[in-house]
């Protein structure tokens, strides 16, 4: 059976300031309302005979994965948590072990979570070709037929045809310089290495054991002690840490003699930068892509994205990328967006947090947004999902005032449990044990005013937590 495996390990910063470490590219709605991750799981689960997709992601993103799956009503085939980043070869090994546990003849379709595929029919047809090859024990890479001389991707050179539309791989080549990329394009036998693969799970493990036994051993040891926690599969962290960090390309595909490629032209993009997002998005007559509240005068070839409650006005500019968020705005020349990395490096070096978190932070129970700060106070706007509850907790250094502005909150404060309704408030004294819960069917929204000498997120003692965080 076909088991889609979605690799969501990336924490890329190339789309900063929208992409942050705790909410990377794959979870953002970059084109349309759904995130790239949601588009990927929908694409996967729409394939004929596909089982519920397995996701491999970092522990930090587990609740976001769960919520995004739920929102698009895609059943989960399991969310495997990588204890730490070890690149794709070990991640795929964990997924292979996981699918084999339920299906000893499992075939895996490996898909990065952050790619765009515009032509789903062409993709489905390529999957069918790849499935035939996988049945003959080939490890199949999807190769994107290049339509221009891109220097930012690795390429795959094909050899003889094994079956209609499927070829043995002659070799993988690194990112070329421009003349080389132009030659590859002209020769017609090269394809971009998309990072998508299809193979029998057991065959992958066999080849991994042959060419990278330390990775296989570490993955097996880590998976042997796996525990299920809600929808999440936690593997042994110490065992996994012992794995070499390597990509499937280096560890397996470049070494096996069973590597095949299925070329496909399916409107694929990895949206690796703001300029490539601009390129794949629809434009107006002036070549602009505007999102949100934008007023533009004599503006051309630009991507402008305004954030909530904010207006962006542009005058006389050309080929710019303007990305506005609650706490940071990027203004870059479109052909210089690769230098977003420089900005992120400066943020890191300065010990700042704008590359880590958005002002609005998602939690398993909902979200909070820090809308005001002062010397001894902070104001947060808090959403609690229906049925959700924050942990039973206390703070050493702050008191909290809660004003409910929507829904009905159930509040625990030391030994009292009571309801607080819209336009009602309550007070949580410093040091008191408290919990906020939404037992209703509509979201609870409240304004929290924190008051105290220290207001960091780390002033929290969790006594109980329905999400296993205590």
């Amino acid at each position: 059976m076909l088991h889609p495996v979605v690799l969501s390990g990336g924490s890329g910063t190339r789309l900063w300031p929208l992409s942050r470490q705790n909410q990377p590219k794959q979870f953002l709605s970059l084109i349309g309302d759904r995130s790239l991750y949601q588009e990927t799981v929908l694409r996967a689960s729409g394939l004929p005979g596909a089982q519920a997709p397995v996701t491999v992601c970092s522990d930090d993103h587990r609740f976001m994965v769960g919520e995004q799956l739920q929102t698009v009503a895609v059943p989960s085939g399991g969310i495997v948590l990588e204890p730490m980043a070890r690149n794709t070869a070990p991640a795929i090994a964990l997924a292979a072990l996981h699918v084999l546990a339920g299906d000893d003849d499992a075939t895996m379709l490996v898909m990065p979570a952050d790619h765009l595929v515009e032509d789903e029919a062409a993709f489905r047809e390529a999957v069918a070709r790849a499935t035939d090859l996988a049945a003959k024990d080939w490890l199949v890479a999807f190769g994107i037929t290049p339509d221009y001389a891109e220097t930012g991707y690795g390429y795959i050179l094909r050899a003889e045809e094994l079956a209609p539309g499927g070829f043995r791989i002659e070799r993988f080549v690194e990112k070329p310089d421009l003349p080389t990329a132009e030659r590859y394009l002209a020769e017609g036998t090269y394809a971009w290495n998309s990072g998508m693969f299809l193979f029998r799970a057991q065959r992958y493990l066999d080849e991994l054991g042959r060419h990278a036994p330390a990775i296989l051993a570490a993955a097996r040891a880590a998976y042997a002690t796996a525990t299920a926690d809600l929808d999440f599969i936690r593997v042994g962290a110490e065992a996994f840490a012992a794995s070499p960090s390597d990509s499937i390309d280096y560890a397996v595909m470049e070494n096996t003699d069973r590597a095949a490629v299925v070329p496909v032209s399916c409107g694929w993009s990895d949206i690796g930068s703001w300029s490539s997002l601009w390129a794949v998005a629809e434009h107006d007559a002036d070549g602009n892509r505007h999102e949100g509240d934008v007023i533009s005068v004599d503006t051309r070839g630009s991507l402008v994205r305004a954030s909530e409650r904010r207006l962006i006005a542009t005058i006389g500019v050309e080929d710019l990328v303007i990305i506005d968020t609650a706490d940071a705005t990027l203004v870059a020349r479109k052909d210089r967006v690769q230098d977003v990395k420089t900005v992120v490096d400066r943020l890191k070096a300065a010990g700042r947090s704008e590359h880590l978190f958005h002002r609005k932070v998602y939690r398993p129970w909902g979200s909070y947004d820090s809308i005001g700060v002062g010397p001894h106070f902070q104001v947060k706007r808090i959403f609690v999902k229906p049925g959700a509850a924050l942990s039973l907790q206390k703070h050493q250094h702050r008191a909290e005032h809660w004003v409910v502005v929507s829904g009905v909150a159930e509040v625990t404060c030391d030994d009292r449990v009571f309801e607080v309704r819209e336009n009602e408030s309550t007070y949580i004294p410093q040091g008191s044990v408290h919990r906020l819960r939404n037992r209703g069917s509509t979201p609870v929204e409240l304004i929290e005013v924190q008051s105290g000498s220290y207001l960091g997120e780390d002033d929290i003692v969790r006594l109980e937590d329905v999400y296993g965080r205590s």
Copy 2:
């Protein structure tokens, strides 16, 4: 005696989004910590023998004028409120009547509130020359010696010298085209019309009566019914409305045969656009002027201004103006900033408010900032100055929760009066009569959560107000 008269009637939008109708250019800290208005009154009051400056401003800006005077400890010679805008000739007439009421030989130095003068010594020296001419009943315009061929100003052509450094005016000329401006510059007998004037108040009224009697009549009638309200002088609105709207240049200076010009080179700028602010500000080695939290990579010749709690990052851009505020950000090519007007026109046409108000709104008692809004609620951060009080008021459609985060608030709620201290809260039910007062010597800061079906600023009934607004 010399009475400085500061004209603060402008509500220009050329520096949008920083400049808004309720907080125009003259009240902004564009260079350094003080506003242009504050720099102007300090410059005026530092002149030898100068009396306390008179300000002419719109009713909307009266509290801002009062507060800005107080902050720089300049005594007020009166704040004359224009009931409506009627251009400079009537405004100066009101000021002339006002200074003559206390000094029947008053000399006036008329200064727009929004100009920059970098060389105060040169300015003082020019004032001395102008004072000598005014004593001989000349109406003196200050002419700025041009240092480049500017096409955005009117020019003054001088005739024969009347006294050292003082000339009869041959004629005023309109904004020239570039070849004409270049010729003016080469000829050396033209100066920019700065909008600054010096003359005996009675002489101005005499000439006004001769050349624009309807303006004089309206100003006299309006001033005849003037009343003092705190520090403010309110003139008759109906009478003033009858005045033709005209500038001192058209109404008087171009018609009188007693017009003189004192040329001066004093580092003058009217900061009429973002590009002229960039030009007068200090730059770094790359020609950039950064204010606030800015990270720039390969950026040149740009003015970048970040607002509070927000980061602006730029990459690879050149000659841009980037002005960030709490609710709107402008990104414009530096040589296209005159089109800010187009953006403001679009805001007006759309019935929006981003050209009228900042998110943070100043009031006589302090300020409020709308930090969060939702379907049936709004969160405001409120500052109340020491000794200040909001009006005794009630709201038909909303209740308010107040959480004090700094200082001690005295709260009136129906027939109770009580104190609310830091980390305490209170509730103002819908329809109840309430007041917030700061009797302490430190500011009160509080978070207000409004809850109700309608949250507009106009849902207020003022029962008593110490600022005369009820």
